[in-house]
């Protein structure tokens, strides 16, 4: 992974002292009692008989302690924050390092993450010769810094609005070659190419370029009726999530889009104060509008007539309008001169020609007039502000006095008053109708009899709202309810503000009211900064924000600027994280956590017998596999001995014989060191019988006479040391029949003289000490070659033939895959007889030879360790 030697270190070595506290884990583990598990168990009567040992459960098992210690050690190492890194950057102490930062506002985006690899590199550097150049703000440049100073400077770097000054930076550079790290802001700057060329000449190797910010900047927002056209610079062309926000921080609308521009719908009754791109933390992600912090300036036009005090229109309008707005009152001339955005006019007897002209101009420029009607208006129907200015003078006003007080019709959904609740007690007694409605007149609200209550006409850039009833309780109870205020408020929200032509601010002192900081936050300044001159675009002394001159002016980062993606020369290589080494904190934490978790998981599984059995099985299987692979030719456990029976003329008998030997084989395997590898049936003429030490011949009730070749084969078998064990099963049958059957079967065989097994015969002690030879039948007998005959035979005194009538085969067969109670001697003795016969067949007379017993045992030990 690394071409250079590696260095291992800790960023927070004091944490390693915690390793000394690890032995406490043992002590703490003992203090914690294991959990008490409840289990149902029927054999409690057994448990009660036992004396429970003192609880050693307080001592957790060793594996648990080791696991805990290991896990905690991993966590401690992780806290110490180890890392491995190459040594190549510390070999040369005199090597100079230069860091260049395009410290514009865009650099703030994800700064701490992006500079982390370079900080990690610098941490390992021992050169005291690091220069940091801030290309936008050269006053912040630092020279001859050591690693710690450099890291501190990088972490606390400030990013200002303004543009990179490459020419100035070039002048500051010396001729000395340096390892160069470069933080670009991702935005194309003029005159950068020459700077890059200069750096390329001075760089040792390639220039290490830090990751560029994924920066998105709102370049422009153009608003029209209910829509905002938004233009965005998106350096990585990723998804942009943009919100339109109100001054009080509520989201007016939210969109997601890719690309450079998007048209956003602006709901009625809303006036976005700023637009904001989410997931961006720089000043370019905010676009302020002049609505930010702006409140409409409302003028209440005083009637020229007598002031009726608390009963005047002005009083009621003032009361309604002043709740949240800047309200002035005066004559039309005074108010327009004072810069009112909205004029509210109560019932009046008309205006002079000059006032009418002023009002017309006011509306043409974008102003809003709200006009209440009443008896005075009715008295002078030629009022141009109502009709004459809009249409022909013949449009007269006709008063229509209703017989009853009338309700207000609920506001339609598309009305600007949508959602306002009309109190039930608000009734209108009288209203004024226009004789002929203007084509452009929109009826915004009606009475329940269909007569208009509020109408609107656009007039130039401005609007005229006519309330067809009085602002005072004289005609309508609306003025006594919150509804009048709510209606006015909705009209205010739908009126233009800051529509007046921009004045030349260059000679006016204004103030910075709200400032966007480098992190993209809007700060309301408690002490507004005085500003003499507002430049066309932001700079170090004119940060983005809301400036107040004659009216509010929004100065955004993107103002008078255009943005393009930066292109860096080929030798600006992305700083490779691999060369920076690896921090091991994450993996170590993860391992520690997994170990702690695994303790519980292991405990659960170890308490589960199923799992434990599986583990045991798996371990056994693994061990077996290891043994097997270690020695593929290892001996099998079983002896190469098959218990064999003679195949007769009766299938049923053969099956029984087979089952009997299977049962006896199981007994032999369990109780002796004879481990038969199976059971085999052999025909009397088979040569296979010569491989067998003993042949079991279960006589069928009607045994056939042996063929000559079969008899000869069996004779040879016996002569060669084999034993023929014949079970006549005749004890329970007619003795004559049994004897006839036996004689028929033995016909052709050379049978030595026989006798009942004498008391001192080896057959009685070859394994078990047997007094009798009970089989399925009690008092069964076994005949063997007489002692005299055996002594003279060539078979070391072993009888070549054993004949019995006990039907041992039945019991042996029943013992196959079964388990007799050791107390049931009716079954136990026949099994023991079988064991003794087979031990006799395999071991011969050695039990009789007590003289040589020591030598025999010694030899046995040598043969079978």
């Amino acid at each position: 992974m690394f071409g250079a030697p590696l260095q291992f270190g800790f960023l927070f070595p004091p944490a390693l002292f915690a390793l000394f506290a690890l032995p406490l884990v043992v002590w703490v583990s003992r203090l914690i009692a294991p959990p008490l598990i409840e289990k149902e168990f029927p054999a409690i009567f057994i448990l009660k008989r036992l004396k429970s040992p003192p609880p050693k459960s307080q001592k957790p098992p060793l594996w648990q302690i080791l696991l805990r210690i290991t896990a905690l050690a991993f966590v401690i190492f992780a806290i110490a924050d180890p890392h491995i890194k190459p040594r190549n950057n510390v070999e040369n102490q005199s090597e100079k390092i230069e860091i260049f930062i395009e410290d514009t506002f865009a650099q703030n985006q994800d700064w701490s993450q992006r500079c982390e690899p370079i900080i990690a590199y610098i941490e390992n550097s021992i050169t005291p010769n690091i220069d940091i150049y801030f290309i936008n703000n050269p006053t912040a440049n630092l020279k001859n810094q050591n690693a710690a100073q450099t890291i501190k400077a990088l972490k606390s770097a400030q990013f200002l609005v303004g543009e990179n000054n490459f020419e100035n930076t070039i002048k500051m550079l010396g001729n000395e070659k340096a390892r160069i790290f470069y933080f670009g802001d991702g935005i194309k700057s003029p005159k950068s190419q020459a700077f890059f060329d200069t750096l390329s000449v001075r760089a040792i190797g390639n220039i290490n370029k830090a990751a560029l910010p994924n920066v998105k900047i709102i370049e422009n927002v153009q608003t029209s009726e209910n829509q905002a056209q938004i233009k965005v610079f998106n350096s990585a062309n990723t998804l942009t999530h943009l919100n339109a926000m109100s001054f009080d921080g509520k989201i007016i609308n939210s969109v997601e889009f890719t690309g450079a521009s998007f048209a956003m719908q602006i709901p009625k009754n809303s006036r976005p104060a700023y637009y904001q791109i989410l997931d961006q933390n720089h000043a370019g992600a905010i676009f302020l509008t002049e609505n930010y912090g702006a409140k409409p300036s409302i003028g209440i036009v005083k009637d020229k007539g007598q002031d009726a005090g608390l009963l005047s229109d002005a009083h009621f309008l003032n009361a309604a309008a002043s709740l949240e707005n800047i309200v002035k009152s005066g004559s039309v001339t005074e108010l327009i001169k004072a810069g009112a955005d909205i004029l509210v006019i109560g019932d009046s007897a008309g205006f002079s020609n000059s006032e009418t002209a002023l009002l017309k101009t006011f509306m043409e420029n974008g102003g809003t007039i709200i006009r209440f009607l009443g008896p005075k208006s009715l008295a002078k129907p030629e009022d141009e502000i109502l009709t004459g200015a809009l249409k022909a003078p013949e449009h007269n006003l006709i008063g229509q006095i209703g017989p009853n007080k009338i309700n207000i019709e609920p506001f339609s959904k598309d009305s600007i008053f949508s959602g306002l609740e009309i109190p039930a007690n608000v009734l209108v007694e009288k209203s004024v109708l226009l004789e002929e409605a203007h084509n452009q007149t929109q009826i915004l609200a009606k009475l329940s009899d269909g007569a208009p209550l509020i109408s609107q006409e656009n007039f130039g850039k401005g609007k005229l709202f006519v309330i067809h009833t009085s602002a005072t309780p004289i005609w309508s109870q609306m003025s006594l309810s919150p509804l009048q205020f709510q209606i006015l408020e909705r009209i205010f929200d739908n009126s233009n503000i800051n529509f007046k032509p921009k004045t030349d601010n260059s000679r006016i002192t204004g103030y910075l009211l709200h400032e966007i900081d480098s992190d993209g936050r809007i700060n309301n300044l408690s002490n507004p900064k005085p500003i003499d001159n507002l430049p066309p675009k932001t700079d170090a002394t004119h940060p983005p924000g809301i400036y107040s001159f004659n009216q509010n002016i929004a100065l955004n980062v993107a103002q008078s600027r255009s943005f393009e993606k930066a292109q860096y020369p080929d030798n600006f290589k992305n700083f490779d994280e691999k060369t920076n080494g690896i921090r091991l904190r994450g993996p170590l934490f993860l391992i520690g956590l997994l170990l702690l978790l695994s303790e519980n998981i292991l405990r659960i599984f170890l308490n589960s017998r199923i799992f434990r059995n599986q583990i045991a099985s798996a371990l056994i299987a693994l061990a077996a596999l290891l043994i097997f692979t270690h020695d593929a030719f290892a001996e099998t456990k079983k002896d190469n001995l098959k218990l064999s029976y003679l195949i007769t003329n009766d299938q049923k008998t053969d099956n029984k014989a087979k089952l009997a030997l299977i049962g006896l084989a199981q007994v032999l395997e369990k109780r002796t060191n004879i481990e038969p590898s199976g059971v085999i049936g052999l025909k009397p003429d088979s040569t296979e019988i010569f491989k067998q030490p003993i042949l079991f011949w279960l006589l069928p009730p009607n045994a056939n006479q042996l063929k000559p070749n079969e008899a000869e084969n069996l004779n040879r078998f016996m002569a060669n040391g084999g034993i023929l064990f014949i079970d006549t099963a005749g004890k329970g049958q007619n003795q004559n029949q049994t004897q006839a059957n036996l004689r028929r079967a033995l016909s052709g065989l050379i049978v030595p003289p026989l006798e009942k097994v004498p008391q001192n015969h080896v057959l009685r002690k070859s394994f078990y000490i047997l007094q009798g030879f009970n089989g399925f039948y009690q008092n069964a007998e076994i005949w063997v070659e007489t002692a005299n005959s055996a002594a003279s035979n060539s078979l070391d005194g072993v009888s070549p033939i054993i004949i019995g009538d006990g039907d041992w085969a039945t019991i042996w067969a029943l013992s196959a895959n079964s388990q007799f109670s050791p107390f049931d001697y009716t079954k136990e003795v026949p099994l023991r007889v079988g064991v003794n016969i087979y031990m006799y067949a395999l071991t011969g007379q050695y039990k009789a030879d007590q003289l040589h017993i020591d030598a025999i045992l010694k030899r046995a030990k040598k043969v079978k360790p």
Binding site: E38, P42, L47, K652, L814, S818, Q819, F823
Partner: protein, 284 residues
């Protein structure tokens, strides 16, 4: 984990018992072997028992004893003898096998979900043996008078200890009660001269006590609890004690005599069923 009585009558148990009876079929031969024995089964399911009683065939002559009716005297035999002789006939009784399955709450306890309960194993074995017995004209009974079927009879009788009967019988229990109590129960069958088999069925956890850690053991049947602080350390002692418990039960049972077979629910119950069958078949 506890099962309940409804688990004993589900189709799965019936299927397992059928499979078991198929495997045990080879031992039908053992019944057939009875044709060579002194007692010969009749096709009507009755057999002679070498005992005097109500029957059709001659059994023996014996001297008249005091208080016996003179009408019983066989005069022809008495003429040949010095004493008054009575002619006795051999009893004819139906072949019957009684099976009792202990169904006290402990029999339904299972240490692991994937194991059969002791009661379920008992039911499978009992149904399989009864199936084989029926094929051999042996009537299988439970220790209750009213029963709709053998299985329901087993369930009904399983709640109470059985009274001794003069017939071959199989008793299936987990012996999870005090040793003396079990031995006393077994002792009630002393003197009944018929083959008797005692099948002990356990849960493997009862034999091995393979538990770890600190456990509060609860016996719901007797409302007893005991907290064992370190189960692992007690395992060997427990094994020795439970072995002693079963040894005493086996010794008592052998004296009666009962043939004893034992199994647990972690191994195949085939050998167990076969042992029980072997133990009682000679009674027919």
């Amino acid at each position: 984990m506890n099962h309940n009585i409804s688990d004993l009558l589900n189709p799965h148990i019936k299927k397992l018992s059928n499979e078991l009876s198929q495997k045990l079929k080879i031992f039908d031969a053992a019944f057939e072997r009875n044709t060579n024995l002194e007692t010969i089964p009749h096709f009507d399911g009755r057999r002679k028992q070498r005992k005097s009683g109500i029957g059709d065939e001659f059994f023996q002559f014996r001297p008249l004893q005091a208080n016996e009716s003179i009408s019983l005297i066989d005069w022809r035999a008495s003429a040949k003898s010095d004493n008054l002789q009575i002619k006795q006939k051999e009893i004819h009784a139906k072949n019957r096998l009684y099976i009792w399955l202990d169904l006290r709450p402990s029999m339904f306890w299972v240490s692991r979900d994937n194991l059969l309960s002791k009661a379920q194993i008992g039911m499978i074995v009992a149904l399989a043996i009864s199936e084989i017995a029926r094929k051999n004209q042996i009537e299988v009974r439970t220790f209750t008078k009213t029963q709709k079927s053998f299985a329901s009879g087993l369930i009904e009788s399983g709640k109470y200890a059985p009274a001794p009967v003069a017939a071959p019988m199989i008793i299936l229990s987990d012996c999870m009660h005090e040793t003396d109590e079990i031995c006393e129960f077994i002792g009630k069958f002393r003197g009944i001269n018929f083959p008797k088999a005692f099948g002990i069925i356990n849960d493997s956890a009862e034999c091995d006590f393979d538990f770890d850690g600190r456990i509060n053991f609860i016996d719901k049947e007797n409302h007893e609890t005991i907290i064992i602080e370190d189960c692992q350390s007690l395992q060997e002692k427990y094994k020795a004690e439970i072995q002693d418990h079963f040894s005493k039960i086996c010794a008592t049972a052998s004296e009666i005599p009962f043939s004893v077979a034992k199994t647990d629910n972690s191994v195949d119950y085939y050998e167990f069923a076969q042992s029980l069958l072997n133990a009682i078949y000679r009674g027919f």
